[in-house]
Amino acid sequence: MSGATPSTKPSTYELSAADRARTFIVIAAFNEARAIGQVVRELREAAFPNVVVVDDGSRDDTADQARAAGAVVLTHLINRGQGAALQTGLSYALRAGADYLATFDADGQHDVADLPAMLGPIMHGEVEICLGSRFLGVRAKMPKLRRAVLFGAVLFTRITSRIKLTDAHNGLRALSRRAALGIDLQLDRMAHASEIVDQIASCGLSYREVPVHIRYTAYSLAKGQKSSAALRVAFDYLIGRVFR
């Protein structure tokens, strides 16, 4: 198993247009019509031509907004959960020939400006996976309860996967093609975040945490997971470990 390499140095990676063209950004979206258009546009304006939005059975016009903003839209006819939607997007991107992949949240909490620092180490062959961390480097303003729950999640992941992370449940991740081929998310709902970490460990993929900036807007907080959902996530995850 490869260990994590520290990422204290600042992000100095530049991505060429060709690098960006070989990258697929995967977004799982459920009833995100208000935010998804802006998120896709920002990615497109940052010259990422391949944005894949998986509309996870939304009841609003998430799919139309994403498509109008320039994304390829995959539609889950029935809501299957974020883990399932991400896996759909990753599978599609791999089929479409992606060399580099990134997962991005639909609610606008991630910063497009963090992508070069996430993808650069992979493009330079330094690691196979970069995981965004909101606790490395810059401190994001965050409600106290949210901070406590996320810390609990980090401890949980350390115990279950024996991988040391500072932020176990950050939706911003970057993967090489090889890493994405090794990942197979079976947990359809939110426990996929721990599942990915497990699979990083079991596939022996090299990884690195990269400090990212999270925008806690009123919208993303209202739309995001309630802190009380953590128990459900833990249960899903543990059951998933039993019934492999």
Binding site: A63, R67, V72, L74, L77, A84, T88, S91, Y92, D188
Partner: protein, 118 residues
Amino acid sequence: MSLFQWLGLSVLAVLAVLTVSAGVRGQVRKRIVTFWLLVWGGGAVLLVWPSSAAIAAHKLGIGRGADLLLYSSVLVMFSGFFYVYTRFRRLDRQITMLVRRLAIENAARPAAGSSHDG
């Protein structure tokens, strides 16, 4: 025999006939048919010869026949839950795979005129 025994036996007989006919028509697998016939048969034995439960319970070291019935029904119920739960999980996975396949095969390209770049 009492009225209760006659009623119970006829219900069990109907259930057995239904089970066998479902098996013959291929709706239920042979192993499942055998399982249910054993359950109905066991019920019939208990109805006609109630003290058999007490004898079996005694042999197993459980005091009373009623206790044996209670324990075994709890056991059967939990294995039933477990069976249904694993079935449910499998079904869940299958639905996800189906939904995924449909999503990938019907991928919608971006709307015309929305591209900013080449």
